[in-house]
Every structure is written in structure tokens, then in C-alpha cells.
């Protein structure tokens, strides 16, 4: 292993001096996630806070027949403006274009129906494919329904009936989530970004030390030295691992810093990204560097040039974090068998840490052991490749 260390030392110095490798390990990988995260958070904040509390401007058609309804909506900070659209077609087109989030259409027979005690029809025009319109839709719908139920109760009272008879259920929601638990909705994506940052951090190094070395013509003389191929490969993989670990540490630090500046409390979230939690997240994720470095080195060792290596390794980049995406479709709880699935196990551990839940030490160990095993297998595959004469010819 003396020679593996010497190879590592040289590859590390070489890569540190390579601007491309440093840029992707120190800047691109670690900052990409937090930047995107910050952007998405700002969007969510807009939708959840502004949309729910800011005055909402809603064009209306036929509003002259519904003075009281307009008054009620006005109390709910929903300003209805009857002048803007001549007919339904123009309003629908404006909503479709996204110029208006929602529009309100009062049926021509609204006043008559209301007087006769028949359902008076009101349409809300909305484009459900416009995600930013959904909050507005809910606000308008709730305000109209609220007004409707007020009228209904008054009608019952006028007839001497207790209005409560029309409300057989009282449905309440008991939210048992904690503020830090709710933050998982947002921070759950953090694992994906951190895994991606790691892969990006080791990518250039893995390519440079294999396909790059071959393309430059420095591989052949290297192979004539009295060093086992195993030691060469281990040294190269170790370099990529070091870069990935640095990317991971920087990525976590960038997340923890970003979160400090986001008003999470405004949407009912808190995060416990304390230094201790950050260390735990690092410990949970760092075994993945061995898998990633082994996999990238294995894939890159089968290619003949930097360009070819970039093509194939970009596939290899996408695959490992995929199990994390699975959990967006189907939330899972940490369990021993799931700890055997690399990247998924890391995600479950990190999620538990963010939630402030107790994490079982044996889960940590299982996750690390399974992930490192896959990494060692990949590295062994790369060693076999380096032993083959096809590496050069």
C-alpha cells in the first residue's frame, strides 16, 4: 500500500493544480444544490405567504348582480373588478395566457336563483396547469363557499331551524409534525444534491487519472514501473474519494449557511442543521464517496479519451442517486434491509437526522458497510481493467 499512497500523493497534487477539477469539486458541486435550493425556497415562500395574505385581484363578469358577494370577497382581501373583460371568452383567454390567475363569472340567473332559493351558479375560471394559480383558486373558492354557508345558515334560522343541523360533522386537523419535521419537505432534497455534488467533485479526477492519463500518453510509461496495478488504481480511486469528501463537506457547509439566511419560520419550519447534525450527515454520506469514486474510475477506465469518458461517466453520475428519487414517490422509513441499498440508505439516515429523530447506530454501520462493499467491488473491477492489456491497445 506504500505505492498506493505515493500514487495518491502525486494524483492529489496533480488534480489540485488542475483548474477544471478544482472548479467542479469546490465550486460547481457544493454550490449548485444550495443555490437551486434557495431559489426553490424563495418560490415556495412566495406561494405560501404572499399568495395567502396579499390582496388578490380577480376580474369578474356579471358582478352587478352580486353586490353582496363582492362585498364579502372584499373583506377577504379579494378585489373584484367587473370592468376588465367584455365576455367570457376574453377572460378565459387571459387566464389561459397567465395574465390573470383566476377569474370569477356570475351566472346571468344568479340574482333570480338566489331569491328563489335555488343554487345560484358562480364559476371560477382557472388554469390548473399554472401552479401559481392554485393558491388563488383555493382562496376564491373558500371565500365564496364561506359566503354561501353564511346565507344557508341565515335561511335555516329564518325558518326557525337550528343551523347546526346542517353540519353533522366538525372536521378538525391535528398536525403532529414538528417544525423541523416539516422542513424535510424542503430539505429532503438535500441528500440528492449532496450525492450529486460528491459525484461532480470526483468526476474530473476520475477521468483525468484514467482516460486522461491514457489520452495524454503518460499511462504507458507508468505501467512499465515495478508497481502493482492494484496499488495504482487504489491510489487513483483514493484521490477521487478525497475530492468527493471535500465536495461533500463544502456542500453541507453551504447548505447549513444558506438555511441560516432563509426565513424558514415564516412557513412553519425550523431546521436543526447544528454543527453536530452536519457532522452526522457527513458521516452518513461519506462512505458513498468510495462507491462513487470506484464507479467513476471503473467506467472511465473503459474509455479511450477524455471526451468519451465524459459521455459515459455522465450516465454513471445519474444512476447512483436514483433511489433517492424513489422516496419522493413512496416515502419509506429506515429499516435494516433498506440500509443495504446505497444512496437510499444515506437518504433515509440524513432525513432522520434533519427530522431530529433517533438514528440507530447499526443502521449507520450497515449503510456504510453495504456502500463501501459496492465501492470496493467497482475498484476491483477497475484493477482488473488495468491488468488487461486492452487498457493500452
Amino acid at each position: 500500500m506504500k505505492y498506493a499512497f505515493r500514487t495518491f500523493r502525486k494524483e492529489f497534487v496533480d488534480s489540485v493544480r488542475e483548474r477544471r477539477a478544482i472548479a467542479s469539486a469546490v465550486l460547481l458541486g457544493p454550490l449548485f444544490g444550495p443555490a437551486l435550493f434557495g431559489g426553490m425556497f424563495a418560490m415556495m415562500l412566495n406561494i405560501q405567504i404572499d399568495e395567502a395574505t396579499e390582496p388578490l385581484d380577480v376580474p369578474i363578469i356579471g358582478g352587478a348582480d352580486a353586490i353582496n358577494l363582492k362585498g364579502h370577497l372584499g373583506q377577504r382581501l379579494i378585489d373584484v373588478d367587473p370592468e376588465r373583460f367584455e365576455d367570457l371568452a376574453a377572460l378565459r383567454e387571459a387566464v389561459r395566457r397567465g395574465d390573470e390567475k383566476v377569474g370569477l363569472v356570475v351566472d346571468a340567473g344568479f340574482a333570480d336563483a338566489l331569491r328563489d332559493g335555488a343554487p345560484a351558479r358562480v364559476w371560477i375560471v382557472v388554469d390548473r396547469s399554472n401552479a401559481t394559480a392554485l393558491t388563488a383558486l383555493e382562496r376564491v373558492r373558500a371565500a365564496v363557499a364561506e359566503y354561501g354557508s353564511t346565507i344557508g345558515m341565515q335561511r335555516l334560522q329564518l325558518r326557525g331551524i337550528d343551523p347546526r343541523i346542517a353540519r353533522p360533522f366538525a372536521v378538525l386537523t391535528d398536525d403532529v409534525s414538528t417544525p423541523s419535521g416539516r422542513s424535510v419537505v424542503l430539505l429532503g432534497m438535500m441528500t440528492y444534491f449532496l450525492l450529486f455534488a460528491m459525484m461532480l467533485g470526483g468526476l474530473q479526477v476520475a477521468i483525468d487519472t484514467t482516460a486522461g492519463e491514457r489520452e495524454r500518453g503518460s499511462l504507458e510509461p507508468l505501467l512499465t514501473l515495478p508497481v502493482r496495478r492494484r496499488d495504482l488504481v487504489v491510489g487513483k480511486v483514493a484521490t477521487a474519494v478525497a475530492f468527493m469528501a471535500v465536495s461533500l463537506a463544502l456542500g453541507i457547509a453551504a447548505f447549513a449557511t444558506t438555511v441560516q439566511f432563509l426565513p424558514l419560520a415564516k412557513i412553519g419550519m425550523t431546521t436543526n442543521l447544528t454543527p453536530a447534525a452536519c457532522l452526522a450527515i457527513f458521516a452518513a454520506l461519506v462512505p458513498f464517496a468510495i462507491l462513487g469514486a470506484g464507479l467513476l474510475t471503473l467506467v472511465a477506465s473503459f474509455t479511450r479519451s477524455f471526451r468519451e469518458a465524459q459521455t459515459y461517466t455522465s450516465f454513471a453520475m445519474i444512476v447512483p442517486p436514483l433511489p433517492v428519487l424513489l422516496t419522493f414517490l413512496n416515502p419509506l422509513q429506515p429499516s435494516a434491509p433498506l440500509m443495504l441499498v446505497p444512496s437510499l440508505s444515506q437518504h433515509l439516515l440524513v432525513t432522520a437526522i434533519i427530522k431530529g429523530q433517533e438514528t440507530a447506530p447499526e443502521h449507520f454501520l450497515l449503510s456504510a458497510a453495504a456502500t463501501v462493499t459496492v465501492g470496493v467491488l467497482c475498484t476491483w473491477g477497475a484493477v482488473r481493467r488495468f491488468r488487461s492489456e486492452k487498457l493500452l491497445v
Partner: protein
């Protein structure tokens, strides 16, 4: 001492080497001469343990390349064809990496690096990064890398390729000095004058076979030509005429 016996190697449909046999003795410069595609590089790569022969054996100082590849690699210094350096490392770091992988500890590395830097007159470029080195500077550092562990056997594949006259002369001096120190030097070239000016013995390869071997005088005598180049053309026979331009 290099011994090649009945070496054969095929890449797909191309028979790169077919029953090639020759030796290179200590204290001599042996030139492996042949047109492009004759099998020179393949033979040298098998000798360096990078390729495996389909048949035949190759050995250095009696050590077989298949039985003990690490033993062979420890005894040889190699300058492959078109070998390149690590552009981000200085000349000294490039050489030092090879010294470290030859098994030297830090102190021995420094001593050995300084020795070859001095021998090859590279004090001026020693601490410059290899990015931007000329072909001559690259080959000098490559040669220094090959010599840093003071090997008994030196294997050079087309070492003068792309070198100017002065650099070529300097390289020849280094090679002769190794010979005079009792080392075994095997170099390949497709340039007749190169081999004629430098080598004590010549092995002419054509289509993967040895078609002539001996001192320049012996080859001239055997082919009946006074001029070495004519002798070379005579030796490789139809191959030269069949070369498709």
C-alpha cells in the same frame, strides 16, 4: 541482457509479430530497425510486460516477463514511443514520482532526481511545470524518468522522434554513456542513419520477423551492399516496394 525467443503477437487480423527472435547484450547498443508497422513497438511492449505474447518468451537478465513481470520492470528503464509527462507537475516532480514508484524513500528520491537532472543538463527547466515544454525538453525529462533508478537495461522506442539536431546529438551522448557504463541498451527506430550512427548491433524487423541481424559491417556483407540504407532496403525486400503511399 535481453533475450527474445520465437515471439508472436496478433491483434485481430494483423500478425504484428511472427516467430521473432533476437538478443541484446550488455555493454552494447542494439538497434531494432524496421519500417512502420514492422512490429518494433509490439516487441518492446512485450518486453516491458505491457503486452502478453501469444507465443514465445522474452526475458531480461534471465527473468521471464510472464513469470515475474515486477522483477523485469524493476530492472528496466523505459522511454515509450510518444510518452508524455504530467503537465501540472514540474520536471523534478515528474522524475521524483517515478523514483518513488521505483521504491526509493524520500531522501533517495531527491538524490536520484538531482543526479539525473545534472547528467541530462536540466537545471534550467527542473522547477518549471511540464506544460509548455518543447518536444526536446519532454524527451529529456522522459529519459531522466527512465534513468532515475539507474537501470541495467534501457529500452527506448523511437527516442529521437521530433528532436532537432542538437537534441539528437545530446541524446546519443547519453545513450553511449550508458553503454560505456556496461548497460544493455535496446532502441527502435525507422531511421537508418540514426541506427547506423549509434548502434553496435542491428536487428532488422519486417512484417513481424527478423530478416537480418548483426553488426553494421556484417549486415552490409550479408546483403552485398556497401551503403547501409541500401542494405536495409535489400533486407526488408519486397515490403519496401509494397509500401502503399
Amino acid at each position: 541482457m535481453i533475450e527474445i525467443r520465437g515471439l508472436a503477437k496478433r491483434f485481430g487480423k494483423v500478425q504484428a509479430l511472427a516467430e521473432a527472435s533476437f538478443t541484446a547484450a550488455d555493454g552494447e547498443i542494439t538497434g531494432l530497425l524496421g519500417p512502420n508497422g514492422a512490429g518494433k513497438s509490439t516487441a518492446l511492449r512485450i518486453l516491458c510486460t505491457i503486452l502478453r505474447a501469444d507465443a514465445g518468451t522474452a526475458s531480461v537478465d534471465g527473468i521471464d516477463t510472464v513469470d515475474d513481470p515486477l522483477g523485469v520492470r524493476a530492472r528496466i528503464g523505459v522511454l515509450p514511443h510518444n510518452a508524455n509527462l504530467y503537465a501540472n507537475l514540474t520536471a523534478r516532480e515528474n522524475i521524483g514520482y517515478y523514483a518513488a514508484l521505483q521504491g526509493m524513500d524520500a531522501e533517495a528520491c531527491d538524490t536520484a532526481v538531482e543526479r539525473v537532472v545534472k547528467t541530462l543538463g536540466m537545471e534550467d527547466i527542473g522547477d518549471r511545470r511540464a506544460k509548455g515544454f518543447s518536444q526536446g525538453q519532454r524527451i529529456r525529462v522522459g529519459l531522466a524518468r527512465a534513468l532515475v533508478h539507474d537501470p541495467r537495461t534501457l529500452i527506448l522506442d523511437e527516442p529521437t522522434n521530433g528532436l532537432d539536431v542538437m537534441a539528437t546529438r545530446a541524446l546519443r551522448d547519453v545513450i553511449r554513456a550508458r553503454r560505456d557504463a556496461g548497460c544493455c541498451v535496446l532502441l527502435s527506430s525507422h531511421v537508418m542513419q540514426e541506427v547506423g550512427a549509434l548502434c553496435d548491433r542491428i536487428v532488422i524487423l519486417s512484417r513481424g520477423r527478423v530478416v537480418a541481424a548483426g553488426t553494421p559491417d556484417q549486415i552490409r556483407a550479408a546483403t552485398g551492399r556497401d551503403d547501409l540504407e541500401d542494405a536495409f532496403v535489400q533486407a526488408i525486400g519486397q515490403d519496401a516496394e509494397a509500401t502503399d503511399w
